[in-house]
Each structure stands twice: as structure tokens, then as C-alpha cells.
């Protein structure tokens, strides 16, 4: 079970990477407008 000493930090590292990606997308303004994209789905057919 001493593999836990490796696995848990590794898992946290993965979580950290996805968190950084999330923050990067926020800083790029991708989450500023969450409403319009949902309407495009309704009308897009091409």
C-alpha cells in the first residue's frame, strides 16, 4: 500500500493541471458569455 505515497500526489498533480487549464480558459475570456452558446445549439443545423 505504500504505492499511496506516489498515487495520491500524482492524483493531486492531475487535479492541479486541470485546475490550471480551467484558470487559463477563464483568463482568456472563454467563460464570460455562457448564454449565447446554448442558443446556437438550438438554431444551428448546417
Amino acid at each position: 500500500m505504500s504505492v499511496l505515497y506516489v498515487m495520491i500526489p500524482l492524483a493531486i498533480l492531475l487535479a492541479l493541471i486541470s485546475l490550471i487549464a480551467f484558470i487559463w480558459s477563464i483568463k482568456r475570456g472563454q467563460l464570460d458569455d455562457l448564454d449565447t452558446a446554448s442558443t446556437r445549439f438550438l438554431t444551428d443545423d448546417e
Binding site: 495520491i8 492524483a11 493531486i12 480551467f22 477563464i26 467563460l31 464570460d32 458569455d33 448564454d35 444551428d44
Partner: protein
Amino acid sequence: MTAMSSPPSAALPTASPKSATACSHCDLPVPAGLIVPDADEQFCCAGCASVYRMIHGCDLGRYYHLRDVLGSTTPPVGPAADPPTRYEAFDQPAFFDAHTVALAGGLRQIDLRLSNVHCAACVWLVERLPKVCPGVIEARLSLGQMVARVTWEASAVRLSAIATTLHRLGYPPHPAGSSEARSLRIAQERQMLVRIGVAGACAGNAMLLAVSLYLGLLDGMAAEFETFLRWISLIIGGVALGWPGGVFFRGAWAGWRTRRVTLDLPIALALGVGGLAGLINVVTGRGDIYFDSLCVLVFLLLVGRYLQMRQQRRAIDAVSLMQSLTPVGCEVRRGNAWVSVPLESVVVGDRVRVASNERLPVDGTVCEGVSSLDTSSLTGESRPCGIEPGDAVFAGTQNVGPAIQVSVSAAGRDTRVAQLMEAASADVSNKPAIVCFADRVAGGFTLAVVLLAGLVFGGWWWAVGFEPALSHAVALLIVACPCALGLATPMTLALALGVASRRDILVKDAAIFEKLARVEPARPGVLALDKTGTLTTGQPRVVAWLGDSAWQPVVGVMETDSKHPIGRALAQAYGQANPPDIDHVTEHGQGGVTATFDGRDVALGSRRWLETQGVPLGREWVEALDRHQDQGMSLVVVAVDRQVVAVVWLADSIRPGTAAALRELEAVGFLPCILSGDTGDAARHVGQALSIAPDHVHAELAPEDKTKLVARAGGEGQMVVMVGDGVNDAAALARADVGLAVKGGAEAALAVADAYTHRPGLAPLIDLVGLSRLTLRVVRQNLAVSLGYNALTVSLAAAGLLSPWIAAILMPTSSLTVLGLAVSRLGRWKGAR
């Protein structure tokens, strides 16, 4: 003298019902004079007809289907006015370089704020701009901000052509400068999202680790792994409390320093005690840790606040800025020619030409031309006033007569309109604030919790010992956190904001729910109402016709193309499907119109104008007129071959349902009063018709006077609610406790009001009051349920029976219960009926 078709009575009539035929493009009623028999499509104006053909011509007819399916809650799109040539100013280097961005490959990009964007169908249509306007590469529309980012090939099409196309499609564009306030809001929201992301990541991981530890309690866990997991929990908890959790610590500290207790205080207490105790316990290796509950707490509380922030931001974003009050460009005389320039280039002393049906872009003096001006958005006057060379005119008013030339005396920020706006925006910060219900509870709550903890500590120390006493007291402080209240209140407000927006009321600040709910018959509030446009329709209607009714069709057809409100009213009332033939229709200044019918000269206009044309009124006519002099109505005289044959009375009619609405609001505890910029006669008449006490009717008010009255009423300790729609209401709206503006009025009023709506009249206010009372009841219910849960957990903690896994289950459960109750009560609210 022939009989009257209907006697002008003392009471103003309510607006007549709409005609049956609706315009194929905009769904507004088609005037009888424009109905084409046997045609499949009917249009209310040339603008709508051309848009319809353009849309179908580019094979985009799906727009109408989408609009029917997706745009059901929004008001009909207004008729698209004839495009002015003002967009030529967009091609000028001064504008082009300032507002557009150069991209690689010879492309240019601009952000344009579009008016009239309502729904997903508009998004669909605008994003198909490349099909309608060749040369445009892409158009992306943001529905919330109503800003379109257009990319085009600079060599293939001109910006003015793009702007004109957008205008003809029904979405007049303005350059979207980004204001400082907006950038700040966006930055704040992004920061909040980052915090939520971090808190969520920490919460998830902390919970996973905690579950392992809980299971370890059942079967036993090797000490080394337990220690390892506890240290990792400490690190994760530390990150969550330090970074996102810092919001609550800073808030509590700021509140403590200014002696204002907010809900941040008990939350910070719980987080602080929990964090500290957890740190000590991990380092010493003994005792319970609660990091999973603390991380989830931080996450949920921040999500609640973010949702409320986002709903409020939606309402704020949907308001266009003052830029759309005045046109983007205007025609200025440069040398010997008229050049279209952007508004920023106009200086004092320039000569500006304002065409018919255009808004004045500047303050100035008329130097050429005789016309009429609709000043209702600026002063509240319901009747257009005549202007001639030498008169002072102001930006934001509408020219409803022939073209005029104006010598500029003030432009841009120096215009009266801009200064009114600035004064109103400054007043917003003077708005009286109330202490929210949740914050008022927070102080007593914290005190009670601290006392209880002290008692428990003392009791256990005396009974058993120091360490158990400490751990039980700590447990109590952690679980007594008003998680349910702290989470449920912003969520409830966010829900209420969403419910209101589905009823077409956009609320910028959720505090108004509490303010409105506080008004009761025992604690009356003042309801300050603007007259023109709010209580009345703002458009004149024919009230009575005295004279030979055979001339009615002629009058109707003469006014078919009129843009003057009185002309339009006459066309609406007397226009017919098969109009008689007339020739030489000429529009003169000040609302006079002449034409030839059947060889005879027909003239109609105001009494004063006809006298200048040499048509005096005979004595019996004067007697008839004098009998109804003081009712504040407009008069149109019809003369054939210089002989008066008829007289028409028109008045601004009261909106249907207003009287009933006022009775309902009075029953709630509001005292209505009218604040009007219009003449005393007109205001008094409306007051009488609506049974408002005469000393509560104030007329001929300048915008500054309105503000003073509102401030005085507020100073007497009463809650002041103001409803209005014009620029002259903006400052008063800002000063009132609750300001409600109607969209379609001046954008300036929308920018400073606390809430605004598309629906005219008083019905939205009644909805808002009903919703506010319900919301406050739900918030109180939240408190009761939350207290119940807290009583349970505190008892368990005091008895020494609490452990981290019980806390981890009970805290989210309490939040979910409260949320569920709030959703079930607010979600089903269907309006005040």
C-alpha cells in the same frame, strides 16, 4: 353646425384596441390606410417591407420560424426605420482607426453594440451576416451584452455598408466602447470563477481523502497512512481557506472595523476555528479534522454568491450606454458641402443638418428651417413643440417635421443630456442602502453561537477535562456555521432574479426585493410616477371630431406618411383601405399639411398655424373650443378652401388597466403621486382620471425638481419607489430607493434604474411587489429551517456526539433542504395574478 361624432367629455379615454391585421415582419398592427387587399403579407411601414424582402432574398426566411419558436417571451421587434446615411461617418479615418482593429490577411474587426437584439433568432440572423453582406467573413453575437464582433475584408466591403445592412435588418449598430465599469465587473467575475474553481478542486479532493479516513474508522487504518492522509488534507484545506476562503475573512474583518456585521462574520468564525483546530490536530496527531466540510462550505457559499452576481450582471449588461441616445454621426457643413462625420468631430460653431425623423445629435440654435420637436424623452412633454430659427434645441430630442439646420452650442459630454446622465450616475452612489435581513440576523447569530460554545466548553471542562471540552467546543463552532442561510440567501435572490427576468423585468440589484417587501399599509411608501409614457401611452389619440365627417378619409390619407405623432394618430383613426385620391401633399413646419382634393385646397394644422395661413376661426367654432379649453388636449383644425369645416381633438390616452393597478398598489401601502414635466392641465387631468389626490400631482417639473421631491420624500423616512422612462426621470430614478425604468424610453433612465422592464405601464411593478414579498417570505423560511438544523447539530456537538462524518452529512443536507424549498416556492410563481 353639424353634429359631433363623439362629444369631448371630461374623462380621457383609454387606448383603443389593436387592429386585427399584424405586420408580417414586426407583428405590430398595420394602419388601416396601408392594408393592401388580397396580399399575402401586410407591412406596417416601408422599412418592414424592405427588411422582409431582404431576409427572404438571402434565403434566410428561417428567421421568422425561429423567432416564433424561441422569441416568445420578448416583445415584438419594432419597425425598422429608413436607414439614414449617417453610417458614412464610419468610413472616416477618425472613426475607423479609433474603433476597428487590423487583423492578419487584410482583415479588420470591430465590436458593434446592436439595438433590438432579443433572442436566439436574432443571434442566428446576425451571425448569417456574411450571406447578406458579401465581404464580411464572420459575425459573432453575444446575446447578453448585445455586442457583435464583425470581421471583414477591408478591401471587399466598407464599414458603412456593413453598418447600413445591420440597420436595415433591424439592428442599428453603435461602436461598442468598453466602459471602465464593465471591464471592472468582468474582472471581478473572472476572479470569482477562479476562486470557485480552486475551491471546487480542493473540496473534491478533500472529500475523497475524508471518505478514506471515515472508512478507516470502521476497519482500522495503519497509522502512517492516516497521518499521511491527514497532512494532505491539511495542505488542501489550507489552500482552500487561504485563497478562496479569504473572501470571508476579508469581509468579516472589513465589517468588524466599520461596526457593520454581515453574514461573513459567523462564516469566518467557523472557517477560522475549524482551520486552526485542524492544523493543531494534524501537527499533534490527535483529534478530529473537518477540512472536508470546510472546503465544501467555501465552495458552496462562493457558488451562491457567483450565481447572484451573474444574474445581476445580465440585467446590467442588457442596457445600452448613452451612446445610443444620440446618433453616431451627423451631417456637418464643411466648406460648401455637407459631410457626414462622426459625432466626436463636431465642434461648437459647426452647422449640423438634422433630417426628418432623426434625433438631434447636439445642443444648439436653429439657424434654418421650421419644424416640430418631440421632446418627450427629455422633458416629458407629450405634445411636440414648434421650432423656428433662433430657438434653442437640445440633443436627444427628435425632429418630427422637415429638416432643419442647427448651429452647435454644445456637443458630446457638454450637452444637457450628457450632464443629466452624469448627475444621475453620481446620484446612484447616494442611494440609501438597507441592511439586508440575512445580515441583521448574522450579528445575533454569532453572539449566540459564541456564548453557547463558551458554555459547552465550560461545562465539559468542569465535568470531564480540558481536551474533550476543547474539541467539543470547536466542533460546535464549526457546525454552527450558518451554511444553509449563507448559501440559501444568495441562491434565493438569484432565483428571484431569474423569475423576474422571465417576466420581462430585469433587476440589477437584488436589494430592491427587500426594499419593496418592506412597504405595508402600516409603513406606507411613496410611489412617484412619471406621467407621459408611464401612466399614459405617450402617443396622442383622436378623442373627438366636430364637423362634417365626410372629410375624415381625406384627413386620414393626407397624414399617411407623417412622422409627427399627431399626424400618425390621425392616419390611424381615419385611414382607410381605399383612400381617396389627393395631390400635392405638402408638409409645412409646425405640423401643418396641405393638399389638393377634387380641385379644392385642403389644409390642416394647429389653430395658430391656420391663422397664419389666413384661415380665421368663426365665432361659433371659437365658442365650441373654449368650452373644452382646459383639458390639455391638442387641437387640429381642418379647412377646405379657406373655410373651417372640422376640428379634431387629440389627447394622450391613459393606459388601460392603470386605474386598477393603482388601487392594488394603494392596498399594499403605496401612496401614488405624479411627477410630470408636462403642462399643469394635462397632469391634473390624468390625476383626476386616476383618482390621485390633487396635492400629489406635480407638473411642469424640471429634472432637478423631480430629484428634489424624491429626496425630500426619502428624507422623511419613507420608502420611495419611482417609475419613469425619460431622460428627465433619470436623476430621480437614481435618487429613489427603488427606481424602475421602462425600456423603449430613454437609455439614460435604464442605465441608472435599479430595475427595468420591456412592458409599459404599472403591471411590472405589481409583479415586482408580489415577487418581493414572496422572496422575503422564502428568506425568512430559509432562516427557520436553517435554525432548525443548527439546533440539531449544536445539540449533538454539545452532547459530545458529533464527529466529522456526521457534520459532513448534515451540513450539505441542510443546504439542499433549504434550496429545495426555495426552488419549489419561487419556481412556481407565475406572476401577481
